[in-house]
Symmetry: C2
Subunit: 297 residues, 2 copies
């Protein structure tokens, strides 16, 4: 689709996600000015020096003034208060989108607070990121060949939705549309649950005695499996609470799998263990294989 | 310590572990001949062509004839039958060691079967490996700067223990001595538990509906956390059964951590979630930091 350049993009929460979008759009030449907003002026100043943003404000209301596109990329637990702060200061045709990892709760917050602007709010979630965070970790290629999910609802305007899609495509991503409920359930299994699993695994080691001795022996496999436990605690606290129902459902299913492993070990049931391990191994191999033939944007 | 070169090394089970040791010792010039043994002649022939082994036999009794050092590197569930097959065919001063991920059960098998040779059996475990397996995946650097744990018992001779230590040091590893019980408990937490966690996570996704749709969205974090679920199902079946008591203890502790996460989500207890996630994050960071200042061999 024809890309309508953004004149002024305001990013509330300029970390890895927002910073990388700014870098990508600047490189693509599809954005005029980028205004950053956050709580830490020193970080934002660094963003200016790195050329990620052009200027900044620590006040969301000021940052969105005159912007035709606003991206809210804060932890999902802060979004409602951000929406409250900006609602009265948005341009009359400004489009608002977000980068939250949970969609139903963010939509509910936006609907409650944004008033007439809700029709120009396009719920979104770029499926990209590393365990790194912060503006200094941002890079222009983060979204290249990555998926961005948009979850418009009945009230969402078609024009705003297409504009947000074009923005992400300009950053190299391909966009997929689904319902907020489908998004939240899929992400519960494929992203939120793995994070809980990794946090719990490190937690259990941290509670064992003597932890220091154990850590000394934690080999490569342990470091890999717990990499995502280095992610921001606040961000994941918010995600866990915002997607509580779907996440608890996936955690229950996961605990059934852990129980199946424990029961097989207790019973000395080698056939059950081997069949569970082998099915898991094959499922993961098919996941790696499928990665190569992903559907186009 | 002075390295006494090995004249003839017999390796029963020439996969990643045995093949990489052969490559490392050949490169270091601390081995004369390497004789491979396995069930698949085609694989062994490939090992000869790759220069990993010099010749092979599919019969353990033949493979160990005339060897002064024997490494048993099969899944731990097969070791007892290997010991039975070789016991009567070992040279009178041959040293036997193993590479099993569990030590108490292997020691018990060796004690029951090896007879007089038990004093020359040195239980060992190289803490190295990838999710790859097979002789083709072997490489000479696998053990460089990696830890090998030896777990001699009261009956284990000092000379054999020193010879096995020298062998691993010749491959670039540093050797640590501990009791079999300490080994099995530490490895339960830092290696065996993480594998169960990864297998269970993929299993739970494989049981969900529709799995294909879910797999399509499994992002980088999911692939990382489940990497070790691509490991050999037979090998991990054997480990889980051989280290059942320590592994069940660590799985109980792990389930407590999962329950703590689930309870906090159910209660909407953001403070509890954030504190658990943050403690896990810091513990993992200290693990990464500790990696740099590892104690020397």
């Amino acid at each position: 689709m024809a890309v309508m350049p953004i004149k002024r993009l305001a990013i509330i929460g300029v970390g890895l996600i927002g910073g990388s979008l700014a870098r990508a759009l600047k490189r693509a030449g599809t954005v005029g000015e980028v205004v950053g907003c956050g709580r830490n002026a020193a970080d934002l100043q660094k963003g200016v020096e790195l050329g990620v943003i052009d200027r900044y404000s620590t006040e969301p209301a000021q940052a969105v003034a005159g912007a035709d596109m606003v991206l809210v990329a804060t932890p999902v637990g802060s979004m409602r208060s951000i929406f409250e702060k900006i609602a009265a200061h948005l341009d009359s045709d400004a489009i608002v989108t977000d980068a939250g990892s949970v969609k139903a709760s963010v939509i509910s917050d936006a609907r409650a607070v944004l008033g007439g602007t809700f029709a120009r709010f396009v719920p979104g979630h770029p499926i990209a990121g590393t365990e790194q965070s912060g503006i200094a970790a941002s890079f222009a290629d983060l979204y290249v060949d990555h998926r961005v999910i948009l979850t418009p609802v009945a009230d969402t305007g078609e024009g705003p939705c297409k504009a947000v899609q074009a923005m992400w495509e300009g950053a190299g991503a391909y966009v997929e549309i689904m319902t907020p409920e489908a998004h939240d359930e899929i992400l519960a299994y494929t992203s939120h649950l793995p994070h809980m699993v990794a946090y719990a695994l490190v937690d259990c080691l941290a509670r064992a005695e003597p932890t220091t001795e154990l850590l000394r022996f934690a080999a490569g496999g342990f470091r890999d499996i717990t990499r995502i436990a280095s992610s921001s605690a606040v961000m994941w606290r918010d995600i866990a609470l915002a997607n509580d129902a779907a996440l608890l459902k996936s955690l229950e299913a996961y605990r059934d799998s852990i129980d199946a492993v424990m029961n097989a070990i207790r019973d000395g049931d080698g056939a059950a263990l081997e069949s569970l391990f082998e099915r898991a191994r094959q499922t993961r191999e098919s996941l790696i294989a499928a990665k190569g033939k992903r559907a186009g944007g």
